[in-house]
């Protein structure tokens, strides 16, 4: 069990920057979210958000290069479930992507920005920072009564 009130990651994974690992990212995220106490439907949604964040790294920071690494840090902070994705690719500002307008998706065939939109809808907080030539995307979901399973799970 992750220590409460400490920032020590409960799990750190380093994965090659290949889309073939996105399924694994999703599975691990779902499991970690369930261990942190989220119900399966919520854990499913959290796994989607992390899949989208990882996809952003592969497509935008690494621009499809498959010889890099993506680090994932899962942390159960007690009241918060936190996932950080760390990459050494180009600095990207996902906020620069225009806000999603579903009508424009049809009329203008715009398909970008959906992943960011999903991440923000699912998570309570999505932040990006640049630190020591690394990009860090932090996804945080607060736990609440409705999301938690019985203690000990």
């Amino acid at each position: 069990m992750a220590p409460r009130g400490r920032n020590k990651p409960a799990l750190v994974l380093s994965l090659p920057s290949e889309t073939r690992y996105l399924g694994l990212v999703r599975e691990v995220t779902k499991k970690m979210a369930e261990v942190a106490g989220f119900s399966e439907p919520v854990a499913e949604r959290l796994s989607l958000a992390v899949d989208e964040a990882a996809t952003n790294v592969l497509e935008h920071a690494y621009k499809g290069a498959t010889d890099r690494e993506v680090e994932l840090r899962f942390e159960d902070r007690g009241p918060d479930f936190r996932v950080e994705l760390v990459d050494t690719g180009q600095m990207v500002d996902p906020r620069a992507v225009p806000q999603v307008d579903l009508d424009k998706f049809v009329t203008e065939r715009r398909t970008g920005g959906l992943g960011m939109h999903l991440m923000e809808k699912i998570m309570d907080s999505v932040t990006f920072r640049r630190s020591a030539r690394r990009n860090v995307c932090a996804l945080v979901k607060h736990k609440d009564k409705a999301d938690e399973e019985s203690p000990g799970r």
Partner: protein
């Protein structure tokens, strides 16, 4: 184990696509290819039967968005059937229910296009 397969069949002028597995940035090309194949064959009435679809990420939704204009411009539509809770949930989050018609069953989705050879609703 295959991560995604997409079988298709034609029922009275409606193309049925059966994605089985999950659609994310890794598998989306296969799904996109199936959509584009239908379009290239001028089969614009498309039903995606999602009963075997465990999960769809934005890449898959983007593939549908990328195809929908041409499909509708040609008098067709892309409709979905038998979404599981996870996929339905993703649609709800994005508000996709306003963009795509979804049906509880494949038969209902097919019927929604009207009689064979008829115009799309």
């Amino acid at each position: 184990m295959s991560e995604l397969t997409v079988e298709s069949r034609d029922v009275g002028g409606v193309v049925l696509l059966y994605p089985k597995g999950f659609i994310n940035a890794h598998t989306v090309r296969l799904f996109e290819g199936a959509l584009q194949k239908a379009i290239s064959l001028k089969q614009f009435k498309i039903v995606v039967n999602c009963s075997g679809l465990s999960y769809i990420a934005s890449a898959g939704l983007g593939a549908m968005m990328g195809a929908i204009e041409e499909i509708r411009h040609n008098g067709g539509d892309l409709r979905l059937a038998s979404l599981n809770e996870t996929v339905q949930n993703i649609f709800d989050i994005l508000g996709f229910n306003h963009l795509y018609r979804t049906y509880a069953s494949e038969a209902e989705a097919i019927a929604s296009f009207g009689p064979a050879q008829g115009a799309g609703a």
